[in-house]
């Protein structure tokens, strides 16, 4: 299989091209821009297959996708940070309308003031909208996840956000296996979900409804999220058979018998993996899916490991509560047999996780002492 040295952004764009997308809508924002620029080059060379248009804002980008998806088109857009925040109304809307759009979000901090660093707050702020959220740790995973995202979204009819860290993943060159388009086509055929706008059957879409009807629709999205587990397993099986790689909702490394489990999402997991061999008694649980949240699986794995401590590494913070993933992990462990304390390393602002920082937090002394069992430590305070 051809291996190329490309960035995470180029991997995303190449996957979109291989996926046989019908429409790409572009609006630039750092650190996402290289994705839509690479797609523009495909289009200009006549190699995109589908259509490519530039929008006047991110809001418009997602609205264009929504319109095209209503007609049954496979659509893609990419953004980051303020762009994603500006889309917020449309993000809800596309989930409600059950458009299987795939959006790549490259994590970046939110202002004020302006900051380009890879805080995850942008995508995590959108976790209640009804989008599937899949987090990637490296460029290969970005490529593979985009392909899987189209299959998954179109199967359960929910939009899917493929998320990866700005710069660490988006701008770093890595070796990526890039299967040719015909092989990809064996995994992902052309889109075949039903068009909502059908000239043969005129309808009034998305008009005003009451509370009960709305409740049923929310419930149906909630149920569709539950179907993600089964569908994702099937997709991974098919993907592994063709490409030899798969991405379970929770990835475990060295968990068995670990005293301490580190939990994170995104590229922090790569740093952790690189130092795990040198860290006795420490394992990693990486959250691939954040929505739906793999609570059951996480609980089972933590219980099975017998770990005494869970440390969640959050490159984000919900002020007034703490790291967002830590809160989700705590909720998932509620009621678990002998649930271990959940501690939190917060890297909000996009602070880099260094091997040195990991060693400091794992020596245990930082989290013991005052502050109760669920203490948090801020990376910036680790001088």
């Amino acid at each position: 299989m051809p291996v190329e040295m490309i960035t995470g952004s180029q991997a995303a764009a190449t996957a979109v091209q291989r996926a046989g997308v019908d429409l790409v809508v572009a609006y630039p924002i750092t650190p996402q821009t290289a994705i839509v620029e690479t797609l523009a080059e495909y289009w200009a060379r006549g190699e995109l297959g589908g259509e490519y248009v530039n929008a006047e804002s991110e809001y418009a980008s997602l609205a264009y996708c929504s319109g095209a998806a209503s007609a049954g088109a496979r659509t893609f857009t990419a953004t980051s940070s303020h762009g994603l925040a500006y889309m917020h109304e449309m993000i809800h809307w596309c989930a409600g309308a059950r458009h299987p759009i795939v959006l790549a979000n490259v994590n970046r901090a939110m202002g004020a003031p302006w900051c380009l660093e890879p805080d995850q707050i942008d995508s995590l702020s959108q976790r209640d909208t009804g989008w599937i959220q899949l987090y990637c740790a490296n460029a290969q995973e970005v490529f593979d996840t985009i392909l899987q995202a189209f299959a998954l979204a179109e199967s359960v009819l929910l939009p899917c956000m493929v998320v990866f860290d700005g710069f660490y993943v988006s701008h770093t060159y890595e070796a990526v296996d890039i299967p040719p388009r015909d092989t990809v086509a064996r995994f992902l055929g052309p889109s075949c979900f039903a068009a909502q706008v059908d000239p043969g059957r005129p309808a009034n879409l998305h008009g005003l409804i009451g509370a009960e009807a709305q409740s049923r629709l929310v419930l149906s999205r909630h149920r569709a999220m539950e179907r993600v587990w089964e569908t994702l397993r099937e997709i991974n099986d098919r993907f592994a058979a063709l490409f030899g790689r798969s991405y379970p909702a929770v990835e475990g490394v060295a968990c068995e018998g670990a005293k301490t489990l580190l939990v994170t999402a995104g590229s922090c997991a790569e740093t952790i993996k690189s130092v795990l061999p040198a860290l006795d008694g420490t394992g990693l649980l990486r959250l691939k899916a954040v929505r739906p949240f793999p609570a059951r699986e996480l609980r089972t794995r933590v219980e099975a490991s017998g770990a005494e401590t869970v440390i969640v590494v959050d490159r984000n913070c919900s002020p007034g509560l703490g790291g967002i993933l830590a809160q989700e992990v705590k909720a998932a462990l509620y009621g678990a047999a002998a649930a271990p304390p959940v501690q939190n390393l917060i890297l909000a602002g996009g602070v880099d996780l260094t091997p040195w920082m990991l060693k400091r937090i794992l020596d245990g002394s930082l989290f013991t002492g005052g502050g109760g069992p669920d203490r948090e430590v801020w990376g910036v305070d680790l001088a």
Partner: protein, 273 residues
């Protein structure tokens, strides 16, 4: 003999210099024209506020030693509207890029014009999104290349000053980095005008627009700007075919109409503040 005149250093945050702009970028020339215009207009430093959006051009706010406010992308005029309404005595200059003003911020632009609120919008038009690396904007001429239109954009550009006029702006002027003295004059006139003043300042972005469209280096781009410029008076003698090749500079329109902040306080009977 060219008279060398140093910029009023008290109006600059000299500690922030050197600026981040590329060599040959027009942003510095336009910013200098603005500094001289503020001085020439005789405004007190404490009364001047610079509001900017986001883009290379909007970085100017960081170098100017007034109250300065970096807003979100495209929303500088909305921030400035709130500020002007609460402190009508302020002299507010809103610096925007062509993308910031006319794409994501297009809505605020037409509504500021419609209200005829007394703000001075200085749009640094380099025909490109500079900060994000060279994508086309709604002011990029059709056919020109960008990173998101490698084969040239199909889209028709706005005529910015006509858009503003149609929406209700009462002062519209065009200048360029190639003629900074004239630009300075235009900014002064706009600032003295009561109502929404739009100053479009054409400016070279050699790094992206220039390279993508083979416009040569900064010198060639400035020369091309200068050579294609014709004053409003000069333009009156040209036929439409000749005119379509030209960049008409000067005050394109000016008229009187009620100003929004004044109207507002008159209607409420309250004193500002």
């Amino acid at each position: 003999m060219v008279r060398v005149e140093h910029l009023n250093q008290t109006f600059l945050r000299t500690k922030k210099l050197p600026h981040i702009w590329c060599p040959g970028c027009g942003n510095g020339i336009v910013t200098a024209a603005l500094v001289r215009a503020v001085e020439r207009a005789g405004f007190a430093q404490r009364d001047v506020v610079i509001v900017s959006g986001i883009g290379c051009s909007s970085r100017a706010a960081g170098y100017l030693n007034f109250n300065t406010l970096h807003a979100t992308h495209g929303r500088a005029l909305a921030f400035a509207t709130g500020l002007k309404l609460s402190q009508p005595q302020l002299k507010i200059f809103v610096i925007m890029g062509d993308g910031d003003c006319s794409a994501i911020g297009g809505n605020h632009f037409i509504h500021a014009a419609r209200r005829n609120i007394d703000l001075n919008a200085v749009i640094i038009n380099n025909y490109i999104y500079g900060m994000t690396g060279g994508q086309h904007s709604p002011l990029t001429p059709a056919g020109r290349k960008s990173t998101t239109a490698p084969a040239g954009t199909l889209e028709r550009p706005f005529e910015l000053l006509e858009l503003a006029r149609g929406a209700g702006a009462t002062f519209g002027a065009r200048g360029s980095a190639a003629q900074p003295r004239q630009l300075e004059q235009l900014i002064v006139q706009g600032a003295r005008h009561k109502g929404f003043a739009v100053i479009e300042a054409l400016s070279p972005c050699p790094t992206y627009y220039g390279r993508k469209n083979r416009q040569g280096g900064p010198v060639e781009m400035l020369r091309a700007l200068k050579d294609s410029s014709v004053s409003v008076e000069g333009a009156s003698g040209l036929d439409p075919a000749e005119l379509s090749e030209k960049l008409v500079t000067g005050v394109i329109y000016v008229k009187d109409a009620p100003e929004y902040t004044e109207q507002y306080y008159r209607s409420t009977g309250k004193e500002p503040g």
